[in-house]
């Protein structure tokens, strides 16, 4: 199945000067599945519970991804499918009803339960939407029950959030057709970032602003033809499609990373609400200036350094745009799990001409390209980071970019710092690795190269 695709630009763009080069590959991926989104979603919607219907692998995955959060009692769990469920000894739907009953009796505080489909539940065609409807009838109004799939055969990493939000869209109340325009921010943001944006929108004079997902599942924003929506995250294709079907109008903008992205993102809202340049400047001048000052500290550490992105969260293109335009970094390759051309259009348009974007790259071939390019910094998943560090490459864990507040003016400096820290660390560490630890792994063991 591995296609040895030549790494050369594929044609098909309207503006050959600005359009980056996109290469599509098919091969082995090293990306999380959509279940992983539960890790931040269950923290965001504080009265929601995520019940994965899957295997022991699913339970182990979420637990491994959650890591340190074990200190808290999690609002997620797995209904582990066992041999008797597969053999038909137990009726899977009856079993699920029993497990949900058990769960909700232990957690009467839960107001929204997601049944989350997995690879095994999809393959055995366990109909979770039917189960959700049945259970919703039983537990509503105390608890709503919805379903979505976070399976790795259909979703990558951040698409899990898209699927969860899309499942919530039908339950959003309808807005009266005559109601005045309102703004909906779509995509989970840290509470602190939401609050910052809320203040800026208030300063801009946009009064009716809601965030989706809400912090509590009972505080659902109303939606209708008067709704203008801004996507805060670059992985919400299905959610946006369903919101548009309910009358919302998507405001096209780059994503709110860095000063440029945040200004353009806020600017799209300002334009849609008829706010003039002077009012916009008045509302944003102070945080813009602060952000530029915070950024300035890191620019010398990042400028002219080369950077290589392995695919992970879909944030790669907006991050590359931020690092190229605001930090002066040189982009070697931007790996993305998949490319949503429409939502990504603004960020891609702002990338330096000819930037190489690879979609769904074969991980082994991408490692070959990365080794050949010897970039100054590699953005990659945790499975690759230490092995690449051991080869002398600087790395930045991509998953941190999903768990850390990075959007908006006040976080622009923090975002730059995340990329500057590996260089900072390298500069500080004078301690030498012992010779045995720096030799290539194969040489150490005397075996064939195994990485």
């Amino acid at each position: 199945m591995t296609v040895h695709a030549p790494i050369s630009p594929v044609a098909g763009c309207s503006d050959p000067v600005r359009e980056p080069a996109v290469v599509r590959q098919r091969g082995q991926h090293a990306v999380f599945c959509g279940l992983t989104g539960i890790i931040w979603m269950h923290r965001k919607i504080q009265d929601a519970f995520f019940l994965v219907v899957g295997s022991r692998t699913c339970a182990h995955l979420i637990q491994s991804a959650a890591g340190v959060m074990i200190f808290a009692e999690p609002r997620f769990a797995t209904a582990i499918i066992e041999e008797r469920d597969l053999a038909g000894i137990a009726d899977a739907h009856e079993e699920l009803d029993r497990v949900v009953g058990q769960l909700l009796s232990r957690r009467p505080d839960i107001r929204l339960l997601f049944l989350v489909g997995s690879c095994p539940s999809e393959v055995i065609k366990l109909d979770l939407s039917r189960a959700a409807q049945r259970l919703d009838k039983r537990f509503n109004p105390d608890c709503r029950v919805l379903s979505y799939s976070g399976s790795g055969i259909e979703t990558t990493f951040t698409q899990g959030e898209d699927a969860a939000l899309a499942a919530m869209v039908p339950s959003l109340p309808a807005k009266a057709a005559t109601s005045p325009a309102s703004l909906l921010i779509v995509g989970a943001l840290a509470d602190v970032v939401e609050d910052q944006f809320r203040r800026i929108f208030a300063d801009l004079g946009i009064g009716d602003v809601a965030f989706f997902p809400p912090r509590r599942s009972t505080e659902l924003p109303a939606i209708g033809p008067g709704t203008r929506m801004l996507l805060a995250q670059p992985f919400l294709a299905e959610t946006a499609r369903l919101l548009e079907a309910r009358g919302a109008e998507r405001l096209a903008a780059p994503f709110p990373l860095g000063v440029e992205g945040t200004s353009a993102w806020l600017g799209a809202a300002a334009a849609a609400f008829g706010i003039g340049q002077a009012a916009f400047d008045a509302a944003t001048a102070a945080p813009r200036e602060r952000a530029a000052r915070a950024m300035a500290r890191y620019r010398p550490e990042l400028a002219d350094k080369s950077i290589f992105f392995f695919p992970d969260s879909q944030l790669e293109a907006p991050l590359a745009r931020f690092l190229a335009n605001e930090a002066g970094m040189r982009i070697v390759e931007v790996g993305v799990p998949y490319l949503h051309r429409q939502h990504m259009a603004h960020d891609m348009g702002l990338l330096p001409a000819g930037t190489l974007i690879t979609e769904g790259a074969d991980v082994d071939q991408q490692i070959d390209r990365c080794r050949a390019a010897r970039p100054d910094l590699v953005v990659c998943g945790l499975g690759l980071a230490n092995p690449l560090e051991a080869e002398g490459l600087n790395t930045k864990w991509s998953i941190e970019l999903v768990f850390t507040p990075i959007q908006g003016y006040e976080q622009a400096g923090d975002l730059a710092e995340l990329f500057a820290r590996p260089f900072n660390r390298k500069q500080r560490l004078g301690v030498q690795l012992p010779a045995s630890a720096t030799a290539p792994a194969a040489a150490r063991t005397g075996g064939a190269p195994c990485n």
């Binding site: 199945m1 990306v31 295997s55 491994s64 009692e73 690879c119 690759l384 230490n386 005397g446 195994c450």
Partner: protein
Amino acid sequence: MQLTVWTYEGPPHVGAIRIATAMTDVHYVLHAPQGDTYADLLFTMIERRDRRTPVTYTTFQARDLGGDTAEIFQSACRDAHQRFQPAAMLVGASCTAELLQDNPAGLAAALNLPIPVVPLELPSYQKKENWGASETFYRLVRALLAGRATAHATAGARSERAPGTRPSCNLLGPTALGFRHRDDITEVTRLLAALGVDVNVVAPLGASAADLARLPDADFNISLYPEIADVTVRWLERTFRQPTVRTVPIGVGATTDFIAEVIRVAGLDPAVAERVIPSRLPWYSRSVDSTYLTGKRVFIFGDATHVLAAARIATEEMGFTVVGIGTYTREFAREVRELAGKLGVEALISEDYLEVEARIAELQPELVLGTQMERHIAKRLRIGCAVISAPVHVQDFPARYAPQMGFEGANVIFDTWIHPLMMGLEEHLIGMFRGDFEFSDSATPSHLGAGHGSHQNHAAEQPGDAVVVPAALPEPVATTTAEPPAVAAEPSPFVQPVPVMPPAATGASIIWAAEAEQELRKIPFFVRGKARRNTERFATERGVGLITVDTLYDAKAHFGR
């Protein structure tokens, strides 16, 4: 279906990955969707491995399901062989691919690769991680020794060791992601060297495929971790008539027994035992400062090997009282039950974390010896804890040398276990002086996280004891309602069925008088939960509605220490 919050073991293919990763030149082609690649980071992050996990995941997608997932698997095998040039290849399916029934064994065989290809049948919906590791090691050893096994069967009895040659053995069982396996190997190798025994092969950790083919060269095997090695050593016993040393040398007594067993199996002069540097534990346990350890109530939970060893150390070498033991290793449940019977306690055989939490809450031990899971439970319940077993955490791969096995391992264990108790004692001493202006009950106990001492942190960390009580002032009981903690520990409805520390959790029928509540506070925090529970039980049993200072002491007299 089973409702699972946290699991002690991963799926069986993760066990197989632990074997492949432990070895130097074995590659595993796993028919699996992309999400299963999470397993890589267990090794690169928890164990800080500097190499990629030697696993190729086929990462088939939904759109492939109607088409040819078998072809995807075959090309993955071909590509992996070409790219990584392993000496042997494991092939198998994870839970999702198992449902596709693509037959990885047949597909791989059809490729006629020029290396041994070992198919793995790991039933994901029945078995778990350690079983998968054990099965993988066994299949791999059998496959790589197939030729020699046949030759040996015709050759007959095992030849005697030539006079004057040193005996040699294999150390079997250590894997990647094992609890202190790295250092145990070093310690046991040193110990054997002191006895005059050579190590032929350590496997699977650090071994090559060619090393496995040399296993029969050793005079005997040592099964260091029965969860992983037991099936394999039994096969080696049957096939090559290699005897096995089965004593797991964790603790002073067990190490002494291990040495005796090695001397017997290797036919050595018993006097060589004196060449081993002894442990400090026996003297440290007798030293007068250890008096406070006597009779400490401990609860033990983990994998069977470490639980059995810990129970012996706890009772014979530390003078603790074991109030409960349990394991998540169902394969060795019988051994744990037997020991529990001898100790007069009930064994908890469970992989349900909530059940373990409930048992600890009920028993209110003074020390928990468990896994990282129990560490979190103990922290919530404000009980000291030392980690003795997998599942592992990044903290279980310390930079320092920290074996569990051998006499040095016993030294490490002594230090590790008394640390939380000693810290508890220090906290109590501080508590005794809390009327002193320099001390206050709101200071964060130094053994429970960084001592920032801010009251806010304190409240967030310890829901059960989040109240500042200025000792000089009469205490209004009404203020003892703990604030629901913030992010670090959200209110835990899962543990509500077992009321533990918070006064709020007490049944409505029993009220604590203010003086009694005040008196309770004078009891060291690490036994306060037990005292509260016992007093309330005492009151309930006697129909006492209001707990006074007298009730508290009546209960104390009734229950003893």
